[in-house]
């Protein structure tokens, strides 16, 4: 990972000094050993702060929406697909971007790291195979595959789909046998079981909207939950309101979600709201053969009509 960091610094300094970009959006070291903070470097000196490691859980595409300047941006495979979606949806122009692609071997799950730690974590090191958690009086090595974020375990595109420069050699893509095992599991339940399952899943939601705000797809000027004329949904902790929010967010992200996992990583209550978005991904893959953000000239699945689209739900 240090190699990535060095390369990112090098590229950033180069493009900043050449005036190819005004800013570079990347990550810097956080104040906690297991966190990295999104960061915008405006000068070569600031570019020295950039890092990349398995703690870079946010999706930086979230920070380029509607920017008017020239931006350098560090993206993983999934993030690069969101960039594609952003470009298709006119949220940023390709010419404005200098994309530093990171061939990604996955992110470490925050919760898993904390569970392993025997006290304060001071640093988490990652050499793409092993993760070393160092802390106050302990040091632990674990296989990276054991602490991966769950979305990284079923990642279909670890290498960026668009980039101007890579921060390292491309990595082998994963071979996934059972990509939607979790969704299948839920689909096997009866309707009532599913209803209870999701009720339970969301029972702790405090409606802080971290999942929405961490999501690069959620860029509506005013989210429907904030609209007041008409008011679609109440603002209390009422369970129907909570469900409404999560359902509708899933609808809005259908066909566009790249399963980057930023929503779950952001949730302070560890709610697995990716069940919803993953169901929409599964449907788009199975019914329309479409993955979000793979090609610049392909509109999202629900944004196009084909004469042979399955429509068995219509009478």
């Amino acid at each position: 990972m240090d190699a990535y960091t060095d390369k990112i610094k090098e590229i950033s300094k180069k493009i900043l000094s050449e005036g190819k970009v005004d800013v570079v959006i990347g990550f810097r070291k956080g104040t906690l050993g297991y966190m990295s903070e999104p960061y915008m470097a405006k000068s070569e000196k600031e570019a020295e702060n950039l890092v990349f490691d398995c703690n870079c859980r946010m999706n930086l595409v979230n920070y380029v929406t509607n920017r008017k300047d020239k931006v350098g941006i560090v993206v993983k495979g999934c993030d690069s697909r969101n960039l594609v979606t952003h470009i298709i949806e006119n949220k940023i122009k390709r010419e404005q971007l200098y994309i530093i692609g990171v061939p990604c071997t996955g992110l470490a799950d925050k919760k898993a790291l904390l569970d392993l730690a025997e006290g304060e974590i001071t640093s988490v090191e990652d050499d793409n195979e092993t993760i070393t958690i160092k802390g106050d009086g302990f040091e632990k090595k674990v296989a990276k595959s054991d602490v991966l974020q769950s979305n990284c375990k079923t990642c279909i595109k670890r290498n960026p789909v668009i980039f101007d420069e890579l921060a390292g050699p491309e990595v082998a893509e994963l071979e996934i046998s059972d990509r939607f095992a979790d969704v299948d599991e839920v689909e096997k339940m009866s309707a009532d079981e599913r209803w209870n399952f999701f009720g339970e899943l969301l029972s702790e939601c405090t409606r802080c909207y971290a999942c929405r705000n961490a999501c690069p797809l959620c860029y509506c000027p005013t989210c429907f939950v904030d609209e007041s004329r008409p008011q679609w949904v109440g603002k209390s902790d009422n369970e129907t309101d909570v469900l409404t929010y999560h359902f509708l967010r899933a609808f809005h992200d259908a066909g566009r979600c790249t399963d980057c996992g930023a929503c779950e990583a952001a949730c302070p209550m560890d709610i697995k709201m990716r069940y919803f978005t993953r169901k929409t991904i599964k449907d788009c893959v199975e019914k329309y053969g479409s993955e979000a953000g793979m090609e610049l000239d392909k509109r999202p699945a629900l944004d196009q009509y084909k004469i042979n689209d399955p429509n068995e739900f219509i009478k």
Binding site: E37, Y63, K235, N238
Partner: protein
């Protein structure tokens, strides 16, 4: 002051006893760790916990609280009259609340119970509440309560303080309310050794707290200097403006009043609000003084660390529990921001 000592094996029994006259709220172990919530009859507050994710301000300021109800249906009795919502007067106790969280309740009180106006909804909950604190022997690494005028063993805002002393809980009843609760629970009286043991534990616990904040210089700066300081945009860049910090914060007191109406019947309720949200500050004209995301982040820190400090002259609006630090999805750290503010030297 009455000393208390109760064997851990007697704890459940005492809680069962006290539930005859009190409704309890306390930490309960759930799937993903401990939650501080209202307990059902027969549930025992589990004091063997380290922290609860969400703050415990819920005991005095629920996330959603109905203020009154009304009906516009002329066929109903009392239509067009605002009707109070019944309130259960049974005394309540927050058992196992951390001392610094209790301090946060005191901070909330500054806002809701001023000399001129006492918020009735807050007041009735507050007056009715006994705070039975559980001192923290092993503060989390992000805890910096000792530099916020409180600490893991702070007695100042509690009615009872308890501490874990191996096979028993020791402590003391600090107020009349506390003594009543202790009597209702039948806590055994502790011997003279309790005081010394408490002091010893306190010293140990406070020694474990490594992180701290200082705000001595913030006090002397002018609001405008700080407001216009150049570091805000950078400090707030990462902020995604979710409400995690404000909801997790035990001292964030903002609320939003909403009507919920079905047909001709409705209620007016208040819900937690978050200054991180775009709709928080938008005017009816459509103008939003804090339109940019970083401005909203600045506002939160300015409120906690400067406006409050100036207005009440009683420290910062933060008890150092560290919840926002550990839960922020992008790792914005109030300790770092406070440091930045304190170190700032306005160029004149």
């Amino acid at each position: 002051m009455k000393m208390i000592s109760i064997k851990k094996s007697d704890w459940a029994g005492a809680m069962e006893k006290v539930q005859k006259s009190y409704r309890l709220a306390g930490p309960v172990k759930e799937k993903k760790g401990h939650t501080f919530r209202e307990l059902k009859d027969g549930e025992t507050p589990d004091l063997e916990y380290s922290e609860t994710r969400m703050s415990v301000k819920e005991v005095v300021l629920p996330q959603s609280e109905v203020m009154f109800s009304y009906s516009l249906d002329e066929n109903k009795e009392g239509h067009h009259i605002l009707e109070e919502v019944p309130f259960d007067e049974t005394p309540r106790a927050a058992v196992g609340i951390r001392p610094y969280d209790a301090k946060a309740v005191e901070i909330l009180k500054k806002n809701f119970m001023t000399e001129d106006y006492k918020d009735p909804y807050f007041e009735r909950r507050y007056e009715n509440l006994t705070l039975v604190g559980m001192a923290e022997n092993n503060p989390s690494p992000v805890n910096f309560s000792t530099s916020c005028g409180t600490g893991p063993f702070d007695e100042s805002c509690l009615d009872i303080i308890l501490a874990d002393a191996g096979d028993s809980y020791i402590g003391k009843a600090l107020t009349e309310k506390g003594e009543k609760f202790a009597a209702a629970a039948g806590f055994a009286e502790g011997d003279s050794g309790v005081e010394a043991k408490l002091a010893e534990l306190k010293e140990q616990a406070e020694g474990k707290i490594k992180s701290k904040v200082s705000f001595d210089k913030i006090e002397k700066m002018t609001i405008l200097d700080l407001y216009e300081a150049p570091f805000w945009e950078e400090a707030a860049f990462a902020c995604i403006n979710c409400g995690t910090c404000t909801y997790a914060c035990p001292t964030c007191w903002c609320f939003d009043i909403q009507d919920e109406v079905k047909g001709k019947d409705g209620v007016r309720m208040r819900n937690w609000d978050t200054c991180m949200s775009e709709v928080y500050s938008v005017h009816t004209t459509g103008h939003d003084p804090r339109h940019e995301a970083w401005q909203r982040t600045r506002n939160r820190f300015m409120h906690k660390l400067k406006y409050y400090l100036d207005k009440y002259e009683d420290g910062i609006m933060c008890v150092g529990c560290g919840r926002c630090v550990s839960q922020c999805p992008v790792n914005i750290d109030i300790r770092k921001v406070c440091q930045q503010m304190n170190d700032y030297e306005p160029s004149k």
